[in-house]
């Protein structure tokens, strides 16, 4: 498959990030002056941001292993913004000697996320996820070097590797059944979905669902779905708050984007088997996450289980997308992306606040470290409370609307008398509502500790304006989106609609000279 200049050109932001990262690694060895490096990391990210915004909403473009479409646009923008926020959070939190490695790794991860969000080839998808994973091992390792940290690194490394292997094993089956790794075909190049009917007829076609389940397992690790979630609590606990924020967001974005891509472009419409599977996963995941979080006293471990529970909520959207090819499914997918954005914002704000609070010279670890925060640092306590309430889905805030859109999608299908899976979705909606109620208990406990427990004698904070800014931005965003959720949802909804339209004809002439033009 020839790759021409156009393909290279649309890869410019990713390329710039990777080149900058390499430059950071190399130059970092020469000069370890701390104040410079965050700026050096910010510049390529800003460049990428400009490029992404420039490319925003361009017509669907098929280009071999790459695809330029709505999911890609959303994912790229989210990735770059995440990168910028992480730089801001880590500005003064990284150790001086390791700054270049940290920021270089960060740029790599962002580039990987961007590749995942627009991959049109399973090989490419795999490479993208690995580009997210491998620098992440390094970042974990760089955070701090103590017993807990090394344990966390080992666990994350081996389990992540196992997940990659599962993913690969699944991809091998998909490849074997369809004979291609291309997701969306064009012209005479057929994609996986084009070959599906033929595969399902064949003798060993039964292996395709096996492959898809394995792929789901590999990506389920990324989004911490049960039973692939085991690493999350241990790893979050063992690393720093900034790293935990990163771990809670980056792999989840990668996983959700890849799943969206596969659901939109690969699996057949109304794939009930997959929907049933995902519904079971969703219910188990949110329940396990929430009930375990009830027992936690360590803030990062608490947030890890919370993150698992939110993965369960996100899977609701995936189930909707699998079960319905009509507007309900699109609604589900866009609700999932909407929820992802809200989750990322609230999580970054929460971990930012945790990183901001110091207790006895160490980072905040236990819930008791937050005691009386409302008296010692009222603004940060209030902002953390906003994040918590949003995660809990308390009405005026953004998180409520996220849950509402997801649950209402499930309820809609549950009341759709003609839908064959309405019983499943009814159970899912009830389970979701019950879980939201359970979840409120531990989020409110954090607020309880902050507001109703007497403060420790010493609870100084880091005078870190970067963290302050991040927490402030996140909490204000949550309030603003809560006040006007329609604006963001409207921006995401047509993206999902657009993503459904499979491009047939490459606009920038590729192999196929003629074909139908899909009007945008």
């Amino acid at each position: 498959m020839p790759v021409d200049l156009e393909t290279i050109l649309i890869l410019v932001p990713e390329g710039a990030l990777i080149l900058s990262a390499t430059a950071l690694f190399v130059l970092g060895a020469a000069d370890r002056r701390r104040s410079w490096w965050p700026v050096c990391a910010t510049l390529p990210l800003l460049f990428a941001l400009v490029m992404v915004v420039r490319d925003w909403g361009r017509p669907v473009l098929y280009s071999g292993p790459l695809i330029q479409d709505a999911t890609g646009d959303t994912g790229r923008l989210l990735s770059v913004v995440l990168g910028l926020v992480m730089v801001l959070m880590a500005w003064r939190q990284t150790r001086r000697k390791l700054a270049t490695e940290f920021f270089g790794g960060l740029l790599m991860v962002v580039a990987g996320l961007m590749l995942v969000s627009r991959a049109n080839d399973l090989v490419f998808l795999f490479l993208g996820t690995e580009l997210v994973s491998i620098p992440t091992y390094m970042l974990l390792f760089l955070g701090k070097r103590n017993r807990a940290s090394s344990e966390a690194t080992v666990k994350y490394f081996f389990l992540s590797l196992l997940a990659s292997a599962l993913f690969l094993y699944g991809v091998s089956f998909v490849y074997g059944m369809s004979g291609t790794t291309l997701l969306v075909g064009s012209g005479d190049l057929l994609g996986i979905r084009d070959k599906l009917p033929e595969i399902m007829q064949s003798q060993i076609g039964g292996l395709l669902p096996l492959g898809l389940v394995l792929v789901l397992a590999g990506l389920g690790f990324k989004i911490t779905a049960v039973p692939f979630h085991f690493y999350a609590p241990d790893v979050y606990q063992g690393t720093t708050n900034v790293n935990a924020a990163f771990l809670a967001c980056a792999p989840k974005i990668a996983g959700i984007l890849a799943l969206t891509r596969i659901v939109v472009n690969v699996v057949p419409a109304e794939f009930y088997l997959g929907a049933k599977l995902v519904i079971v996963l969703a219910i188990v995941t949110m329940t396990v996450g929430n009930v375990c979080a009830l027992w936690q006293t360590h803030v990062r471990r608490l947030m890890a289980y919370s993150s698992i529970a939110h993965a369960g909520y996100l899977l609701i959207g995936l189930a909707l997308g699998l079960a319905s090819a009509s507007s309900g499914g699109l609604h589900g997918l866009s609700a999932m992306l909407f929820y992802l954005v809200l989750y990322v914002v609230a999580t970054l704000g929460t971990f930012g606040a945790f990183a901001y609070v110091r207790s006895r010279g160490e980072e905040a670890e236990h819930l008791d470290d937050l005691a009386g925060l409302s008296q010692t640092h009222a603004p940060i306590a209030a902002m953390l409370a906003v994040c918590m309430l949003s995660l809990a889905g308390i009405p005026p805030l953004a998180g409520f609307w996220g849950k509402l859109t997801l649950f209402s999608g499930a309820v809609e299908l549950a009341f759709d008398m003609t839908h064959p899976m309405r019983g499943w979705f009814a159970v899912l909606a009830v389970a979701g509502a019950l879980n939201a109620a359970i979840a409120a208990a531990y989020y409110l406990r954090v607020i309880l500790v902050m507001y109703f427990k007497p403060p420790h004698s010493d609870s100084p904070v880091t005078a870190d304006h970067g963290l302050q800014t991040v927490v402030a931005i996140c909490s204000v965003l949550l309030v603003l989106i809560g006040a006007d959720p329609g604006r963001l949802l409207d921006a995401i909804e047509p993206q999902a609609v657009r993503a459904r339209q499979v491009p047939v004809e490459p606009e920038l002439g590729m192999n196929a000279p003629d074909g139908e033009q899909i009007p945008e």
Partner: protein
């Protein structure tokens, strides 16, 4: 005129806000300034308004005079009205009245004679009371708080009488209730004050419940909650100006089609003209229900039997509050409501009879109780209840003479009762907050100014000829008598014609036959005259006990004094109490002026002094005063003996229990009504509450705790899976995957 009506309530509100915000820090001991100034200005505006309404009527006197003033729209629900409920008929419609219509609540005020009179009275009394309070409350810690509440109350009360919408009426009905609650419990550290506030509020809730149901019924029956007519022009404009509306109606009648639609107000001129109050098949029953529910609301606010029990307890509040809210203004809201809804009551004679019975019975009951009370303020409180009963009795006649008499009495009563309460306040202030008449006596030399002004109030209340109470009470008695006469005549006529058989059957169900009602009114007439005797007696009993006899003061009174800020308002009020009734009577003002209100402009009449009734009233009043003088003026030789007689002491050899149901005990223990309510209402409710509490605490909470415990238990179970062992995690992932695959294989 529009801005006057808006300004009158706004000024006290602004003053209340200013006092609330600046009072505690800036104004401190000058906190009364904003409120006093605002009230004075409001009074000025009200007086101007009274004159302007008169002038407006003179210019346009065919149908009465009203000016609705629409400010803004509070709430609109489009297409709310359903025709099945309303039973709107085509009959009597002059303009196409839309069946489906928006439920809209506009903030609309109105100016008419009734409102203007009420406004003038309310602002006048409030101004004087505010001035009095400057002296009375000067050392209180909650000085600014008092004036804030006062401003808020005057705002609510003025709005209550000037809104042109039943829903807004309800809003401000509650508003005055809240202010009353706050002011009764003003000294909230006293348990008795807090309890009294709570009691007043709860008892009023019963009445408010009736009122809001009545408003619902009005909406479903008439399809609007406005008093006034509203014209929707084709251009989408909303016109409330009565002249324009009437022009549109007559244009339509003349065959021209202006294209407008009319929504007739409940008390609007179009409806009054066609007398279209009974609507639909069950119309009479509905109107009766509305009237009785209104009466329930009025009974709550105006302390009529059986909801009168809160008013005596409300005397726990500061005395100026008792004077303003619980004697002169707020308690007359019920009377105002009934007067306002006169056309509705006129459509339902049974309701009128019930109003009269409630009023007459309450008047007698409260007067009997007042005979034996020793708390000066409580005597006055029961006297207030009794006088309000008089007003309801008058309104219950349903004749224009009765209604104007009732309203006239409301007006004069406001002045002399405020005077009496403020006088009692002055006594209380001097006696160091002691109000039990057994603990002081012969104060006429210590408090000469209070003594004189209090005497004026007593003369007016007792109905001594030529003082204001005499004129209004006389009119009431006369109106009841005329009503009885009139009914007797018609009963005779009806019996002759034998119309009972030919009357439509549904009329018989809700209408009490004239011979019966005639005799009821006759009884009410006798009872009213007997009550007048009791009134004169207990008024002067209280007066003599306080100001005559041996001079002694309680220990709490360290320096009895009468500051100028307190006796000057008293002086103004006593002039009013002496003269206002007579002046108005001579010019026949109350009746004539009130009839400028469209809803009261039915039959035109000029009240005349009936020589016979006036003579009997005078004799009765003087007799009451005479008995009181004989008993209490000198050394009071007979008092103890009489008390022992009426307490059935002479029966105590036979049975000791007789004492408890003796007339004296019944009166002094308020007919055991509080105890009765305690047994019948409060105890069962409290028991039910306790049982519910136990069920809630043990059963429901137990269940909830169990439910709350389940996730924690599940968490504890699942948590044990996270052993922290990498190999186990890997195994878990692979086994989980295996389970998923197997399950999928199974369900496909």
């Amino acid at each position: 005129m529009e801005w006057l009506v808006v300004l009158i309530p706004t000024l006290p509100l602004v003053a209340a806000i200013v006092t609330a915000s600046l009072g505690p820090r800036v104004l401190r001991s000058q906190s009364h300034l904003p409120v006093v100034i605002a009230l004075a200005l409001s009074l000025l505006c009200s007086l101007v308004l009274v004159v302007q309404v008169q002038r407006g009527y003179t210019e346009n006197s065919d149908t009465g005079f009203e000016v609705p003033i629409q400010l803004w729209s509070w709430a609109v629900i489009e297409d709310a009205h359903v025709p099945e409920i309303s039973g709107l008929t085509a009959a009597g419609k002059s303009l196409d009245e839309p069946i489906t219509r928006p439920f809209r609540v506009d903030i609309t005020l109105r100016a008419d004679a009734l409102t203007a009179t009420m406004l003038a009275m309310v602002t006048f009394i409030s101004t004087l009371v505010a001035l009095f309070s400057v002296g009375y409350m000067h050392d209180d810690r909650g000085y600014w708080r008092f004036f804030t509440y006062l401003g808020l109350f005057v705002f609510s009360m003025t709005m209550l009488v000037s809104v042109s919408n039943f829903l807004l009426l309800f809003v401000f009905w509650e508003g005055v209730g809240v202010c009353s609650y706050l002011l009764i419990g003003f000294w909230y550290t006293r348990p008795s004050a807090a309890a009294a506030g709570k009691k007043a509020f709860l008892v009023n809730r019963v009445g408010d419940f009736g009122l809001i149901i009545a408003v619902f019924l009005i909406w479903t029956t008439y399809g609007t909650v406005n008093y006034h007519d509203v014209l929707h022009t084709p251009a989408g404009k909303v016109v409330v100006d009565s002249k324009t509306v009437q022009e549109a109606v007559s244009e339509k009648a003349a065959g021209m089609d202006p294209g407008s639609t009319l929504i007739r107000g409940v008390l609007g001129q179009s409806r009054i003209k066609t007398n279209d109050f009974v609507i639909g098949p069950d119309g009479e029953l509905v109107v009766l229900a509305i009237c009785l529910l209104f009466l329930l609301g009025a009974c709550g606010k105006s302390a009529q039997f059986p909801l009168h029990i809160w008013l005596p307890d409300a005397m726990e509040g500061p005395t100026p509050v008792s004077a303003l809210i619980h004697a002169a203004t707020m308690v007359t809201a019920g009377v105002y409501l009934v007067v306002r809804c006169t056309p509705l009551f006129a459509a339902c004679p049974t309701a009128q009879l019930i109003v009269a019975c409630v009023g007459g019975f309450t008047a007698l009951l409260a007067a009997v109780i007042a005979l034996t009370q020793f708390d000066l303020k409580r005597v006055l409180a029961y006297s207030t209840i009794s006088q309000l009963g008089y007003m309801f009795l008058a309104l219950g006649t349903g004749t224009m003479a009765g209604i104007t008499a009732g309203f006239f009495h409301l007006f004069t009563h406001a002045f002399f009762k405020a005077l009496l309460f403020l006088g009692a306040g002055s006594v209380m202030h001097a006696m160091g907050d002691v109000i039990d008449m057994r603990k002081f006596g012969g104060l006429r030399h210590i408090l000469p100014k209070t003594h004189l002004t209090f005497l004026c109030g007593c003369l007016a209340l007792a109905g001594i000829p030529l003082f204001s109470g005499f004129w209004s009470k006389d009119q009431i008695v006369k109106a009841v008598k005329e009503k009885a006469d009139q009914l007797e005549v018609s009963a005779v006529t009806l019996a002759d014609l034998d119309t009972v058989a030919s009357a439509p059957p549904e009329k018989q169900v809700f209408t009490i036959p004239p011979p019966w009602s005639a005799s009821i009114y006759r009884w009410l007439h006798w009872s009213a005259m007997f009550t007048a005797l009791l009134t004169a007696f207990y008024t002067f009993r209280a007066y003599y006990l306080t100001f005559w006899g041996r001079q002694y003061v309680p220990e709490e009174a360290d320096h009895p004094h009468e500051p100028a800020s307190m006796w000057r308002p008293l002086a103004v009020l006593s002039v009013c109490a002496l003269a206002i009734g007579g002046v108005l009577e001579i010019y026949h003002q109350p009746a004539g002026y009130l009839q400028q209100t469209p809803s009261l402009s039915g039959e035109s009449f000029i009240p005349k002094l009936d020589g016979e009734v006036a003579l009997i009233s005078s004799v009765i009043a003087l007799a009451g005063v005479g008995i009181a003088s004989v008993l209490y003026l000198g050394d009071r030789p007979f008092v103890g003996w009489l008390q022992a007689f009426f307490e059935f002491r002479w029966l105590s050899r036979v049975t000791r229990r007789a004492v408890y149901c003796s007339p004296y005990r019944l009166s002094s223990e308020k007919f055991y009504l509080d105890e009765l309510y305690g047994c019948v209402v409060i105890w069962p409710l409290r028991t039910l509450a306790n049982i519910s509490g136990i069920v809630d605490r043990w059963l429901i909470d137990g269940l909830v705790n169990l439910i709350g415990w389940l996730p924690r238990f599940a968490g504890w179970m699942v948590r044990s899976l996270h052993k922290g062992l990498l190999q186990f995690y890997a195994l878990g992932m692979v086994l989980g995957l295996l389970l998923l695959v197997l399950w999928m294989w199974w369900i496909r």
